[in-house]
Amino acid sequence: MSDYVIYSVNGPVVKVTGGRGLAMMDMVYAGEQQLIGEVVSVDGDMTTVQVYEDTTGLAPGQPVTPTGAPMALLLGPGLLGNIFDGIGRPLRDLEAASGAFLGRGINIPALDLERTWDSEIFVHEGDTVTPGTLYASCQETPAITHRCLVPAGVSGKVVRAVPNGSYTVEAVLVEVEDDRGQVHQLKLASRCPIRGARPMGRRLPVSKPLITGQRIIDTLFPIGKGGAAAIPGPFGAGKTMTQHQLAKWSDADIIVYLGCGERGNEMTQALEEFSELKDPRTGLPLMNRTILLANTSNMPVAAREASVYTGMTIAEYYRDMGYHVALMADSTSRWAEALREISGRLEEMPAEEGFPAYLASRLAEFYERAGYVETLEGKEGFVTVIGAVSPQGGDFSEPVTQNTKRFIRCFWALDRSLAYARHFPSIHWMNSYSEYSAELRPWYAQNVSPDFDKCRQRIANLLREESQLMEIVKLIGSDILPEDQKLTIEIARVIRLGFLQQNAYHAVDTYVPLTKQLKMMECILRLYDKAKEGVERAIPLSQYLATGVFDALVKMKYEVPNDDLSKFDDYNAQIDQAVEQVNQANS
C-alpha cells in the first residue's frame, strides 16, 4: 500500500503528494482506475505526473501506485504484424477488453503471454556471455528470425540454460551469473525503457541508399540507409500518401509506421492495405514486416508525446538483431504540439510560438537515434527515420520545420500548388535537397551504372533551367523564347509528367526499380540531345513536337513493364526514327 495520493488534477497533469521517493521518468498508476502516468518533475514533496489517459474522474486523495521503474516496453517476438497505441498496448487486445471505443485503465502487455514460440537456444551451462551474445532465436514470421541477444549491462557465466523447445515469452531460458554473483534471467522477451537510445557498438558512415522505388526520391533526392529525412507539407499535399508509399516499397527488412496524432481512418487504411499487399521481395503480406503504432489525434495527448519514443525503441530493438529498419513518423508536428500542450500545463516558460525551449533538443535526440550502426553483436543494422512535418499554414519558417531541418539531411518539401495540379508525389524539385547524394554516388556507380550520376545531374540541371525560364514565360509568354529554350521547356515537361510524376495507384508505376529509372532518364536525355542537334541547325522545334514522340515518352512509365526493360529499345528506335524523319524533311 503506497502513501502517495493525488493532490491536484489539471487535464493530463496530476500532482502527487505523500513522499519523496518517486524518481524522474518513473512510471506510476494514478487513481482508482490505475491510469498509466509518468513522473515529469519533482519539487520537494510535490511530484508532477503526466497521465497517458483521460483523467476524468480522478480526485484528490485517490492513491497513486509507483512501479519503481521508468516507462518500459515489453519487447519480444509477436510485435511484427501487430498494431499498438502510443504506449505500446496492443489495440486488438484493447478492443477485446473494452469494445470499439477505447476504455481506460486497461494495462495489457505488448506481447501475447500465452503463445509459445519454437525456440533454439544457443548457449550452454558454463558458457561466458557478454552484451550482444545471441542466446536464443525463434521464427517470428516466415521472413524474420527473432534473435534474442544478451542486453547491455549483463555479462558472466551461464549457470542454467534450457534445451531447444517451445517457450512463452516470459519463460526463463537462460540464467547468467555475473562476477558479483548476481543472477540475471534471460527470456524471449525483455523490458526496455523507451526514453533513452539503446546501446550499440559503433556508428558506421552512411553508404547505401534506401531504395524506395519512387523516382524523384531515388534519383534526385536519395536517402541513405541509416539516414534521417523530413517530409514537410501543408495539409492535402500528400504527406501521408508519400509515407505510405515509402512504407510499402522501401527495401528495409522491417517498417515501423507511427501514426502520431493523425487520423483514425488512415491507420485503418494502412492496416487494411498492408495486410493485402505483398512484399515484392518475399511475396509475403507487407503486414508481416510492419509494426503499426496508432495514437490518433483524439487519443490522449500525453501518450502521443510518448509514441515517438515507443516507435524508436521498437525500431532500435530490431536494429540490434541486425535488421534494416525504417521508421516512418507521421507526423512529428503533432508530437511537437503535444510537447507544447504539456509544457503549457506545466506552466513552463514558452519560447517561439508557445513551443517549449527544449523543442530543438528533443527533436535532435529523436533524429540522432537514426543511424547505420555496428550492433553489440558485431552485425550491421540501421534505423532510417522519415518524419512528416505539418507546418502551420504551410509556412516552412515555423519552429518545428526550422528545427527539424537542422537535424535531418534529406528534405522532401511538398508543395501545395503541385498538389492542386494533382502532380504526385508533390515533392518540389526546387525546394528539396538531399545531402546524401555525394556519399551515395559510388554505390550508384557500382550497383546501377557509372552513368547514373551523370544522368541525374543533367536531369536536375534541365529542371533548374526550366524553372528560371518559367519566370520569363510567366511575364511574356513562351512564344518569343528562342528555339533551344523552348526545347528545354518541352523536355522539362516530359521530365515532370513522365518521370517525376508517379502514379501510386498504377500497378506498374507504383514501384519502379532503379534500372528502369535509369533507362527512363536515358531515353529522355537521348531525345533531348537529338532534338537539340536539330534545333541548333535551325529546324523548328514544332516539327519534332508534331511527331508525337514527346507525348509517347510521357506515357512510357505505364507502358514498360518493370521486369522487361527491352521495351526501351523500341522507345530508343522510335526517338531515332522520329528525329531522323524530321531531319530528312529539312535537309
Partner: protein
C-alpha cells in the same frame, strides 16, 4: 444525503472557485443553485487539494460569493439519449427547448465520448451522392468521412450545406438516414433557414437539432458539438442510422474555446488560440467514421467561415490537418455569381480515391476527375499569363484552355439550388467539357477511356441543345 457547499471563494469570467471541498473529481458536473432558486450547471476544470475551479455553462451573471449553493453530482456531464430524439430541438447543452417536455432516456452518456479504436474502424468506401457536380465529380463525399466546407462570411455555405442534406443519397439502399444539426453561435435566421429547409424537404422527423445561437452563453457553445456528436454516435451505432452531422459555425466554436482559454489565464499560441486547439478539434472531428460490425455511420459536414478568407488562419488550418479533405468556397467565384462557388483546385476529398471507380461508381471516374483537376489547373496558369500579356497574345492552346475554363465554371460547377444531377450526368458533362481541349492534352486518362468517352465537338452540340 445531498451535500451542498454554500458560497464561493472566487469569481472570474465564467469561472468560479470553491474552497474546502472534498471528494470532488476532475471533469465532474456541478449544480449551482442561485438565491432565487434557479439552477445553473458547471464542470470541474481544475482541482487542487481542497480547491475546485468550475466552469459555469450559463455564465456567472448575477452570482456573488455568497448567494450560490453548489452541489457536486459525482459524475461527468452527460446527456439523455433515446431514439425519440429524432424530430426534437435541444439547446446547446442538450436540454429540450421545443416545449415537448423532457426526453425519456434509454441511456445517459458522457458527452466527451471515447476515441474509436483504430482496429475497430471500418475503412469508409461507399459514396454519398449529393447531386452537386463539383462535389460528386471532383471531391466525392464518402460515408463515414469528415468533409468540412471552408467558406467566408457572406458566401453561400448554408445554401450548399442545405442542398447537400436535401439531396444526399447513398449508393445502394441500406439503412436509414438521419441528420444531426448543431448550430454554434449562428444567427437566429441561419438556424431558421436550416429548420425551414429540413421542413420543406419533409425531413424534420429525421432531424435532431442542437441550437446554441449567437446570443447564447459561450460555454454552452463548447458543449454543443459534443452533445450533437454523442447523439449522432448513439443513433448510428445503437440504432443503425446513417447520420449526417452538419455543424455550423466551427469558427464561432473555436472563438468560444479561445475566450474560455484566456479567461483561465492559459498561455496562448497562434492568434491567441490555446495550444490544445488541435487536440480539441480532433476530439470532435475524429468522432466521424464507421465501426466494423455495426450498421450505421457518422458523416460530418462541419462549416467554418475563414476569417478574412484566409485559409492559413489557425481554424481552417488545424481543421484541414484533421479532416479528410475540404470543400473550399471562393470569393471570386461567388462574386461572379457562380453557385455553388466551389474552388475545385483547393478542394479535396481524401477518401474519394478508395470509394470511386470500378465497383464503386464508374470505371472512368478517377481518371476523369484527375483530368479535370489537371486541365483546370492549367486554366489558372493561362489566366495569370493573360492578365500580364493580354488574352490576344496567348497561344492558340492557351486560348483553348481559357475557353475550357469558362465552360467548366459555367456548365459543370454552376448549378441551381434545386437542381439535382445524377453521377451519370456529372461524369458525362465532364467528358463533354473535356472535348473542348485537344485529345493530346489529356494525359491523365487512358487511351481506352478516351476512345470510349472523348467525342470531338460534343461541347458545341451541348451548347446548341
Amino acid at each position: 444525503m445531498r451535500l451542498e457547499y454554500t458560497g464561493l471563494s472566487d469569481l472570474n469570467g465564467s469561472l468560479v472557485a470553491l474552497e474546502g471541498v472534498s471528494g470532488v473529481s476532475y471533469d465532474e458536473l456541478a449544480e449551482l443553485t442561485m438565491a432565487d432558486g434557479s439552477t445553473r450547471y458547471g464542470r470541474v476544470i481544475l482541482i487542487e487539494g481542497d480547491r475546485a475551479v468550475l466552469q459555469v455553462f450559463e455564465g456567472t451573471r448575477g452570482m456573488s460569493l455568497e448567494n450560490t449553493r453548489t452541489h457536486f453530482t459525482g459524475k461527468p456531464m452527460d446527456i439523455a439519449l433515446s431514439k425519440e430524439m429524432l424530430g426534437r430541438v435541444f439547446d446547446g447543452a442538450g436540454r429540450p427547448i421545443d416545449g415537448l417536455g423532457e426526453l425519456f432516456p434509454d441511456e445517459r452518456r458522457n458527452i466527451n465520448g471515447s476515441a474509436i479504436n483504430p482496429v475497430s474502424r471500418l475503412y469508409p468506401r461507399s459514396c454519398i451522392y449529393t447531386g452537386v457536380s463539383a462535389i460528386d465529380g471532383c471531391s466525392t463525399l464518402i460515408r463515414g468521412q469528415k468533409l468540412p466546407i471552408f467558406s467566408g462570411a457572406g458566401m453561400a455555405h448554408n445554401e450548399l450545406a442545405a442542398q447537400m442534406v436535401r439531396q444526399a443519397r447513398v449508393a445502394g439502399d441500406d439503412g436509414e438516414f438521419a441528420i444531426v444539426f448543431a448550430a454554434m453561435g449562428v444567427k437566429n435566421d441561419v438556424a431558421e433557414f436550416f429548420r425551414r429547409n429540413f421542413e420543406e424537404a419533409g425531413a424534420l422527423q429525421r432531424v435532431v437539432m442542437f441550437l446554441n445561437l449567437a446570443s447564447d452563453p459561450i460555454i454552452e457553445r463548447i458543449l454543443t458539438p459534443r452533445c450533437a456528436l454523442t447523439a449522432a454516435e448513439y443513433l448510428a451505432f445503437n440504432h443503425g442510422y446513417h447520420v449526417l452531422v452538419v455543424m455550423t459555425d466551427m469558427t464561432s466554436y473555436c472563438e468560444a474555446v479561445r475566450e474560455f482559454s484566456s479567461s483561465k489565464g492559459e498561455i496562448p499560441s497562434r492568434k491567441g488560440f490555446p495550444a490544445y486547439l488541435y487536440s480539441d478539434l480532433a476530439s470532435l472531428y475524429e468522432r466521424a467514421g464507421m465501426i466494423a460490425g455495426k450498421q450505421g455511420s457518422v458523416t460530418q459536414v462541419p462549416i467554418l467561415t475563414m476569417p478574412n478568407d484566409d485559409i492559413t488562419h489557425p481554424i481552417p488550418d488545424l481543421t484541414g490537418y484533421i479532416t479528410e479533405g475540404q470543400i473550399v468556397l471562393e470569393r471570386n467565384m461567388d462574386q461572379s455569381g457562380v453557385y455553388p462557388p466551389i474552388n475545385i483546385l483547393s478542394s479535396l476529398s481524401r477518401l474519394m480515391k478508395d470509394g470511386i471507380g470500378e465497383g464503386y461508381t464508374r470505371a472512368d471516374h478517377p481518371g476523369l476527375s484527375n483530368q479535370l483537376f489537371a486541365s483546370y489547373s492549367k486554366v489558372q496558369e493561362a489566366r495569370s499569363l493573360a492578365s500580364v500579356i493580354g488574352e490576344d497574345e496567348l497561344s492558340a492552346l492557351d486560348k483553348q484552355y481559357l475557353r475550357f475554363g469558362r465552360a467548366f465554371e459555367e456548365y459543370f460547377i454552376r448549378q441551381g439550388q434545386q437542381e439535382e444531377r445524377t453521377l451519370e450526368q456529372t461524369l458525362e458533362l465532364g467528358w463533354v467539357l473535356l472535348s473542348i481541349l485537344p485529345r493530346g492534352e489529356l494525359d491523365r486518362v487512358s487511351d481506352k477511356e478516351l476512345d470510349a468517352h472523348y467525342k470531338e465537338g460534343a461541347f458545341e452540340r451541348l451548347k446548341e441543345a
